[in-house]
């Protein structure tokens, strides 16, 4: 743990001494593997059906193996068109959840219904939802031992059961693709840390969080704290900012609602915020390698995979080779440890369309499904991929994270083949003033929180709750 390696040294409550300690930051080996998430020439002529077809095609083989492992080779694996009444078999397909409350553009613009547009809700699930399994040719309704509220559209699973008289498939059991194979990692000799932070929320109205952010930067760059803490900070070899660097309030588009003559001279809120971000980044990149991922409110494209922020927005920081502007989702290998994660859009979308609220549980579910964003492209904006689905996890990461969670959470999970993954739900810094430190040697995560005082009473802020 970070707090374990930092020694207590009381040197600073004394008159100035002569020592001028300087620690050098540990270098780490780094290789980025997010080429699959980069988009070259973009063509939106295609339909999204290709993506589902590619997804099913890629996952079918994996699921067949898993089904055989789980239920043995006696039970036949059949396609939906070959189903026979009453016969117990295994079917593999994509889940589709039919939700009444799901916003549908066709219903909105249809005049015969005379419906007003639906206001945004926290959850779109209801009691009347139905699960349907689709494969390449047919679809069939599911019932039985399957919990409707836990599943989301787009998950590819294998189901064991039988078709009953009324044309519905009765589920007895199901299984997922589970964790992909993991490359073994070499253990490190010394403790090295990676700082994960997200949701900086610059440009917002909360000025309190700015001092917290400054404290974070001071700590990482070695200004803050006593010698023990500073030497500990020198072992932070990498910083990853996972999205939402700008606050949601910079997204207000006055230009669409206000009259043109009122908004002519006003700048977009994001301009000032980006300038502020550049000034913060230049302090960080002068001391530590930083990876910057875009998030929901950042100035880049909306659909997943989000492309990296453009280097022209950061004139002060770009000359430093330590700055890396990367995509969302992001994958990289640092010192032999594979990191994979997103800025949180995939998780918050699943929160809306299922009854799970726990970000960590959703992270685990997506890991077990072997898919980063199953709800893309149904309810989560996505680029229409053609021949392959880049969100399918090919290799198991060692650290799997998602940004902008309401609170810090972390968990260690094990896979069927002995895979070992650390799941981290990175909290939103602007509201929680908390970041995460991952120890690359032990694969443990510790939250680090910053607090300041204000005119309100000195209550304990930063409650780390599960």
């Amino acid at each position: 743990m970070f707090s374990d390696i930092t020694e207590q040294k009381e040197t600073l409550l004394a008159p100035p001494g002569t020592e001028r300690p300087v620690f050098s930051r540990d270098e780490r080996t780094y290789s980025g593997c997010s080429e699959g998430f980069g988009l070259g020439e973009r063509s939106f002529q295609r339909q999204y059906a290709h993506m589902y077809a590619a997804r099913l095609m890629q996952m079918r083989g994996i699921l067949k193996d898993r089904a055989e492992q789980k239920w043995g080779t006696d039970i036949p694996i059949k396609k939906l068109c070959d189903l026979q009444m009453g016969e117990q078999c295994v079917i593999v397909g994509t889940i589709f959840k039919h939700m009444e409350l799901q916003p549908s553009i066709l219903k909105e613009i249809s005049e015969e219904h005379n419906l007003l547009p639906q206001p945004p809700r926290a959850k779109y699930i209801s009691q009347s939802d139905e699960l349907i399994l689709e494969d390449e040719l047919q679809r069939i309704k599911l019932e039985g031992k399957i919990e409707t509220a836990k599943f989301v559209t787009g998950s590819v699973i294998a189901i064991m059961g039988a078709e009953k008289n009324d044309g519905k498939f009765t589920v007895e059991d199901y299984c997922f693709a589970d964790l992909p194979p993991q490359a073994p990692r070499e253990p490190l000799n010394s403790d090295r840390f990676v700082l994960l932070a997200s949701g900086l929320g610059l440009g917002g109205s909360g000025a309190d969080s700015m001092l917290g952010l400054q404290l974070l930067i001071d700590m990482v760059t070695g200004h803050l704290g006593d010698l023990g803490e500073q030497s500990g900070a020198a072992s932070i070899s990498h910083v990853l900012l996972a999205g939402n660097l700008l606050s949601q309030s910079t997204q207000d588009k006055d230009s669409t609602t206000k009259a043109k003559y009122l908004t002519k001279k006003t700048q977009a809120g994001s301009v000032e915020a980006i300038r502020l971000l550049d000034e913060l980044l230049v302090q960080l990149v002068a001391s530590v390698p930083v990876d910057v991922m875009p998030g929901e409110y950042d100035p880049t494209n909306y659909t997943l995979p989000q492309q990296s922020l453009h280097r022209c927005m950061f004139p002060l920081s770009v000359p430093y080779p330590t700055l890396q502007l990367v995509t969302n989702p992001y994958q990289a290998v640092m010192d032999g440890v594979r990191f994979l994660g997103t800025s949180g859009q995939n998780v918050s979308d699943i929160v809306k369309y299922s009854n799970i609220d726990d970000h960590l549980e959703i992270l685990e579910n997506t890991m077990r499904l072997r898919h980063l964003a199953p709800t893309a492209p149904d309810t989560l904006g996505c680029y229409p991929f053609y021949q392959q689905d880049p969100f399918i996890m090919a290799e198991c990461p060692h650290v799997y994270f998602s940004g902008n969670a309401p609170a810090y959470q972390s968990k260690r999970i094990k896979g069927p083949e002995g895979q070992d993954v650390l799941l981290v739900a990175i909290p939103e810094f602007s509201s929680t003033q908390t970041a995460c430190l991952v120890n690359l040697r032990t694969l443990e995560c510790e939250p680090i929180s910053f607090s300041t005082f204000s005119t309100e009473d000195d209550d304990e802020e930063m409650n780390i709750s599960h």
């Binding site: 008159p15 050098s24 010698l227 230049v282 302090q283 002068a286 680090i448 780390i464």
Partner: protein, 378 residues
């Protein structure tokens, strides 16, 4: 040097009423951050010993390990002096404590601490980590040239269209022959000039879709710039000629001079000259007159220029007379109607004298517009 900093801090805190944070002090005095923290502590300690009842306030930074609900957390807090012990007691293990800032007034809110640091850092963005404890070998900014190279590489990757420099290089060869054919209509002199012009045009254009379009564009561009470059050529040419002729005309001694001078028409050089010319040559049968003609030629740059200019042309009086006699009567009539009886005689006279002038002008007016053109209508 050793004790000077105490005076400096004293000045900042008391005289300038500043909030002196350790970071601000380190950047201002140019010292290591740890030294700055120690300086602040020393200052605080000394002042408190010297005068009791001092109004100095301080904020401290406390960091340590804290375990809540079974999980361990590293906490870093900025607290007021009165909260210091309280915060320390809540931590399992205190890792570091140091002075964060010293100021005269008590701070209710930690906001001003941020703004102080922000201003200090903003001024020193280039070397904001100069006084920190940690050095990173990789964090060296690229020089301007290196940065440009990197950016060019990225741009090359992004560019999908191949550069068409090859096309433009090949184009001049076939196109040189073609202009010769087109321009050969005008003059031989123009051909080599046109090539030069063509090449000039091509070096300016970098992306053309095909060699054919290059040529066409090359041709048209020759016309327009040349014309635009000398818009005043025609007018200048005319004016020069007119002035020359006036001089030559006025030299002639025994032309009936007075009437022209007294003509009520505005002193238009253009009119005077044909008038005088006409008067002077009234007696002759065959004369030369100045006629507005358009000449088209190729100038030295290979551009086609059309000029309107006066050129002498010989014609016989008999041709002109018939026109002149018919016109003045019509004119005097119109004048009568317009001006009224009293001035009839005057106008008649003027009309008669004007007649040849008008006639001449009328003749001219078919080729050149003049104010006398108004009186021509019947």
């Amino acid at each position: 040097m050793d004790e000077l900093y105490l005076d400096n801090i004293d000045e900042y805190v008391n005289d300038q009423n500043k909030i002196v944070t350790y970071k601000w002090l380190s950047l201002t005095l140019g010292v290591h951050v740890n030294t700055a923290k120690q300086m602040l502590y020393h200052y605080l300690d000394q002042r408190r010993k010297e005068r009791s009842g001092t109004t100095l306030h301080a904020t401290y930074l406390v960091s340590g390990k804290c375990s809540e609900n079974g999980s361990v957390c590293h906490k870093v807090s900025v607290v007021r002096e009165d909260q210091l012990d309280d915060t320390k007691s809540k931590l399992d293990k205190t890792i570091s404590v140091h002075v964060y800032s010293v100021q005269k007034a008590e701070l209710k809110d930690s906001g001003p601490l941020y703004s102080t640091d922000y201003d200090a850092v903003k001024e020193n963005l280039k070397n904001c980590n100069k006084y920190s404890t940690i050095r990173c070998a990789a964090a060296v900014p690229l020089s301007h040239t290196e940065l440009q190279k990197v950016q060019e590489k990225v741009v090359e990757k992004e560019a999908t269209k191949p550069s068409l420099n090859d096309h433009t290089a090949a184009a001049p060869k076939p196109s040189v022959k073609q202009p010769k054919g087109i321009m050969g209509m005008f003059s031989n002199k123009a051909a080599p000039k046109s090539e030069a012009c063509n090449k000039e045009v091509k070096t300016e254009q970098k992306d053309e879709a095909s060699p054919v379009s290059v040529i066409l564009f090359g041709q048209t561009s020759k016309w327009f710039p040349c014309r635009e470059r000398r818009p005043y050529f025609t007018i200048v040419f005319c004016a020069n000629k007119i002035i020359d002729n006036i001089h030559s005309v006025l030299v002639i001694p025994d032309s009936p001079p007075v009437p022209e001078v007294q003509t009520p028409s505005p002193g238009n050089e253009v009119k005077k000259e044909p008038v005088s010319h006409q008067e002077a040559s009234e007696g002759r049968r065959r004369k030369r007159r100045r006629v507005l003609k358009a000449r088209t030629f190729l100038d030295d740059e290979g551009c086609m220029v059309t000029e309107k200019g006066y050129e002498s042309e010989s014609y016989s009086e008999s041709e002109d007379d018939s026109k002149t006699t018919s016109q003045p009567s019509g004119e005097s009539n119109s004048l009568k109607q317009s001006l009224g009886k009293r001035e009839e005689e005057k106008t008649k006279e003027r009309g008669q004298k004007k007649a040849p002038a008008a006639a001449a002008a009328a003749n001219k007016s078919t080729k050149q517009s003049s104010i006398m053109g108004f009186f021509q209508k019947k």
